[in-house]
C-alpha cells in the first residue's frame, strides 16, 4: 500500500528573495541531467517562485504544508540575499493570515525544518550585488540569518551544473565535501587561473592590453588567480561552449565571497581602497609610497650633505678619508 503522505521523490522548495532571477534561469540551461529530468524523475519541485503556476494563497499553502507536514524531508534552495531592514519588509514572499510574510521570516521558518539548505548564487551565499554599498535594504547572506549549516553554491549567476550537481549529490549521496566557505569542493576546489586554457600565455607573459584580444587577461584585471570555480573546464551556455576568458573578457570573480564590492574595478588588478570620502587605486597608493620614501630619503641626504655630516662620515670611515676636504658647514654652530 502506498502511503500518500510520504512523497516518492525528494522535495525541493526554490525560494526567491532579493534576486534578479538569474540563477533559476541559469538552472534551466542544465544538461545531463536537465531541468526536465530533475522535475520529472529525480525530485519534486514543489515550490518555485519563478516557474510555479499557482499564486497567492494557493502557492503559500504549499509552503505551509511542506513546513508542517514534511519536516526534514525537503531541500530548501534560496536564491537572492535577505533584506533585514524594517524587519525584512523589503522582500515579501506572500501573505499569511493577511500579513506580509517577509523573506527573512520565510527562510528562518522553512530553513528550520529543511533537510538541507542551499544558497543558490552569490547573493544568497555571500550577500552579493544586493548587499553592495550603499545596501539600502541592509541585505545579508542566507547564512547570516540562519543558525544552521547552509551549503553555498555561489556564482553570478550559478553555472547550471554547479546547482544540478549539488542537488543530485544531496539526493543521492548526502552532503558533498565542502570548503571553508561551505562551497562544494567538487566545483570550487581549484582556482580558475590553474584551470585556464590561457595559462601558457600567462606563464610566458603574453598579455591582452584590452578586452577582445585572445591572450591572458591578467593585465586587464582578470580575477582568475583569486577565484575558485571550474568555469574553464565546465564552461557555460548549456552545451559547455564558452566562458568569460574564452569570450575574451577577464574573469570578474563573481563566485568570490567579496564580489562585487571587494573586487571592483573589474578591469584593474587590485580593488580600490575606499576611505570615508575618498577612493584610491592600488597604483596610486604604490606611487605615493614610492614618492614619500624617495622624498624622505632625498631630504635627509640633502640635509646630511649641507650640514657636512656625510662628508664627516666619509672622512672618518673611508681609508684615506682624513685627507678629504670637507665643505664648511652652513650653520654657525656646526663645528
Amino acid at each position: 500500500m502506498v502511503n500518500e503522505d510520504v512523497p516518492a521523490k525528494p522535495l525541493i522548495i526554490w525560494l526567491g528573495t532579493n534576486t534578479c532571477a538569474g540563477d533559476m534561469l541559469s538552472l534551466l540551461n542544465a544538461k545531463d541531467p536537465g531541468y526536465q529530468e530533475l522535475i520529472s524523475s529525480i525530485a519534486e519541485l514543489r515550490f518555485d517562485y519563478l516557474l510555479g503556476a499557482s499564486e497567492g494563497s494557493d502557492a503559500i499553502n504549499v509552503l505551509d504544508d511542506l513546513q508542517k507536514n514534511h519536516k526534514a524531508a525537503y531541500i530548501l534552495v534560496v536564491e537572492g540575499s535577505i533584506p533585514t531592514r524594517s524587519n525584512g519588509l523589503y522582500s515579501v514572499i506572500g501573505y499569511r493570515n493577511g500579513k506580509a510574510w517577509t523573506a527573512l521570516q520565510a527562510v528562518r521558518e522553512l530553513g528550520a525544518e529543511a533537510r538541507y539548505v542551499v544558497a543558490a548564487g552569490t547573493c544568497a551565499a555571500f550577500g552579493g550585488i544586493y548587499a553592495a554599498a550603499p545596501n539600502p535594504s541592509k541585505c545579508v547572506s542566507l547564512q547570516a540569518v540562519l543558525d544552521r549549516k547552509v551549503i553555498n553554491v555561489p556564482g553570478c549567476p550559478i553555472n547550471p551544473e554547479w546547482m544540478m550537481g549539488t542537488l543530485n549529490h544531496l539526493i543521492q549521496y548526502g552532503e558533498p565535501a565542502l570548503d571553508d566557505y561551505s562551497r562544494p569542493k567538487l566545483f570550487y576546489g581549484e582556482t580558475i587561473h590553474n584551470l585556464c586554457q590561457r595559462r601558457d600565455y600567462f606563464d610566458n607573459s603574453i598579455f591582452a592590453a584590452k578586452p577582445g584580444e585572445p591572450w591572458c587577461m591578467y593585465k586587464i584585471g582578470c580575477k582568475g588567480p583569486v577565484t575558485y570555480a571550474d568555469c574553464p573546464v565546465r564552461q557555460w551556455n548549456g552545451e559547455h561552449l564558452s566562458w568569460p576568458v574564452k569570450a575574451n573578457t577577464p574573469c570578474i570573480g563573481c563566485a568570490s565571497p567579496e564580489f562585487p564590492d571587494g573586487d571592483v574595478p573589474f578591469f584593474e588588478h587590485l580593488p580600490d581602497i575606499k576611505l570615508p570620502g575618498i577612493k584610491v587605486t592600488a597604483n596610486r597608493v604604490g606611487l605615493l609610497t614610492g614618492v614619500v620614501t624617495a622624498l624622505g630619503i632625498g631630504a635627509h641626504l640633502m640635509g646630511s650633505i649641507l650640514t657636512g655630516r656625510l662628508a664627516e662620515t666619509l672622512k672618518k670611515d673611508l681609508p684615506g678619508g682624513s685627507k678629504l676636504k670637507i665643505r664648511p658647514r652652513l650653520k654657525k654652530g656646526h663645528k
Binding site: D180, Y218, V226, S256, D263, L270, T307, L314
Partner: protein
Amino acid sequence: MNWKKQRHSGTARLLHWVYAPAVLALILSGLYIHSPSRAFGFKRMDSARKTHAVAQFLLLNSYVARICYGMKDKNYKEIIPNRKTLKAMPKFLKYEFFLSEKKKEYPKYNPGQKILITSLAGLIPVQIITGMALYFKPLQRAVKTAGGLNPVRWLHYLAALMMVSSVSVHLYFTLTNSLKKLKSIFTGYA
C-alpha cells in the same frame, strides 16, 4: 688576535646574507607579478614566479632560524624596542631632523634602527601568511576574516610596499651613517 669588539656574530651575518638577497628577489619578482614590466628584471611570469617561490622558502627558513637564534642568544633584546628606546626617541629624532648636532652613541642599534628592523620582522609574517593563503587553498582558513582573496591580495601588496620603503630607508642609512658599521655586516667587526 682581533681585539676589536665583534658587532655581528658569524651566524647573524650568515643569516643576514640569506634573507637580504631573498627579500630583494621577493620585492622585484613580487612587483613583476603585481604589474608585469621588464623594469623589474624579468621577461616571463614563469621565471618571476619561480624566483618568488624559491626566495620565499629561503626567507621563511632564514627568518625562522633568525628568530630561534635570537631567542637562544637573547640578542633579540638588542633589536626589539623597549621603554628606553621610546625615551631615547626625541633626542634621536632631533639629531636626525638636524635640530641638534649631538650624535649619541647607542650600545648597538639606535632607536630608529630598532623600530625599522622590528617592523621589517613584523611585516615578514604578514607576507608569509598572506602569500601562502594566495598559494595554498587550505591556508585560506587563516585569512578568512579578511573577507576573501582580493583583500588578502591587497594586504600582501600593502605590506610589500611598506617593505620596499623600509628596505630603502635601511639601505640609505647603512650607506651613509657609518661605513665601519656597514663593514661589520661583512666582516663581523666595526
